[in-house]
Symmetry: C2
Subunit: 331 residues, 2 copies
Amino acid sequence: MKRATIGDVAAHAGVSTATVSRVLNGGAVTATTAAKVWAAAAALEYTPNALTKSIFAGRSPTIGVVIRDLSSPFYLDLIRGVDEVATAADSLVMFANTFRDADREVAHVRTMDEHRVRGLIMTTGESADGRTRRMAESGVPCVIVARTVPDPPPGLHSISLNNIEAGRLMGTHLSAYGRTAVGVVTSGRRPSQVERTLGLRLALAERGLPLPPEAVAVADSETEVGAAIDALFARAHERQAPVDAIVCTTGRLTVAVHSALTARGLTVPDDIAFLTMDDFPWATALGITVVAQPSYEMGREAAKLVVERPDESVALVFEPTLIPRTSCGER
Amino acid sequence: MKRATIGDVAAHAGVSTATVSRVLNGGAVTATTAAKVWAAAAALEYTPNALTKSIFAGRSPTIGVVIRDLSSPFYLDLIRGVDEVATAADSLVMFANTFRDADREVAHVRTMDEHRVRGLIMTTGESADGRTRRMAESGVPCVIVARTVPDPPPGLHSISLNNIEAGRLMGTHLSAYGRTAVGVVTSGRRPSQVERTLGLRLALAERGLPLPPEAVAVADSETEVGAAIDALFARAHERQAPVDAIVCTTGRLTVAVHSALTARGLTVPDDIAFLTMDDFPWATALGITVVAQPSYEMGREAAKLVVERPDESVALVFEPTLIPRTSCGER
DNA sequence: GTGAAAGCGCTAACAT
DNA sequence: ATGTTAGCGCTTTCAC
């Protein structure tokens, strides 16, 4: 069954397409004609073509979101925040997951650009930065999440966490509860990861506690966590400096690190303290102390940036919060 | 900075727009002209307008997804599955969350329709069924997830779980581990919920175990869970039939029910067995036995239905799996 | 192989 | 208040 066009409605109602367009979009029309048009539209089950409309506007009323890893709890809340604001602004959300793949990343950003999204929110690496800048310059506000951008043009925003502070919070908390030898599991070279580790090292150093490179293990994915932990423990053993706390700098690996610990017969917090990033629904039940980011709020703010301040260039930095539970021996 | 159109590229390359269109879409052109056009496109940073393209096709290469509740782990995996095959099919995913609100539901479905999505995947109630049928009839395949549809026209699919079997699995498992008085927390009147409870009741009955209505508590949201559990226990107390197992028929409430139990000083599984729906990352660590649905696979199949079999009408029913851990006293 | 021109469904000046 | 007409950016006959 072919879809009715505005022309069909016009014919059915005995008016011109311009008139139909007017009643549909609230122009000046007689009540009588309006009624006729509405009747015709209903009879033909007319559904306006948003694509065609967007051609005129030059843009689609859609906000693009490119996420690197949908399995991370942080990103889930972020999306919910974006969706909330988008819906309120009569926007849709166009979504794509890059599965941590740089090629998919540039491809998805390009596709979003081709679809003329009104704005783009992305939590990705640098690979698509060239296009992002161009998009911003041509009037499509972009928001980079979880990373700051150097020298941003108008329209290019960034939203991130104060990662140094997140690390400091961890270090301070751990030392306050008597831990002196912390080991960290981090997912690697991304700025956020590096900064969190740095903040941790800073806070520890201020209290005379060391965090040597040997105490930092890198695990890129969940499957590498076990080996990373083992290597960490082995090095600690060599140095005769047994670790009494494990910090995980990414919420994505929380489950993996926690299971690795318990799988090795370690009891939290008696044998070892555990402190990780990003709050999650089960953290309370498990008594896991976390440093939380306001992920939902960050999603809302990201969307608000594209909706409300398209041609500024703001760098929003959110503050982390430590939520103490029992995994560091708090009670 | 104004965006380059195909006309700009044509002018820059000294050819016609038709020729540009040909080289962009792989028509018959000389290598020389092709080179000129590509050079011009690159120089002008030309990005094709996917919106305009879609006008001709009559459809956008986009798959719409309307979800009732993004916070449920089931839906998250579903979306990842959809995204995966959509990407493989050069489609984008247009996403909207209804926050369990019927008005948002119809609004979002309409918007998806207006955007001429090539297909729609939705996990919603009946409120939008009228439009869904029409969409299917006009050539837009729709997939209803987590519910079956009566007398579907071609193009209207459904994907669901064998909920009766899910309930049976629970009943069988519980009775196998010696539980005789089960109480259930369910989120209400949705067919999936009712069927799971029914299956449970059936399996229990076959073993001579009752599941009276008083043993079923309804909690619509997380906040109502505490009260529902209290009422359940109170009724069991009156009937002098203390409950030795709690079943939760929706993954959405797993956390809430579990915490309600522990908050009341109950130890799982010693004081009470706990069995819930939908597997989740922490279930292993917590030792929670679940009846899992293949959510990721269901998302993939849903997307494949719209991509590969747009004008059939298939009702896919997936089988649940019980994943035994320790929350029912398994060891 | 390439260009001119018509048209996709709709809006936005201009007319009337 | 309503109709006519010219596009929006692109694809697609149909000539050449």
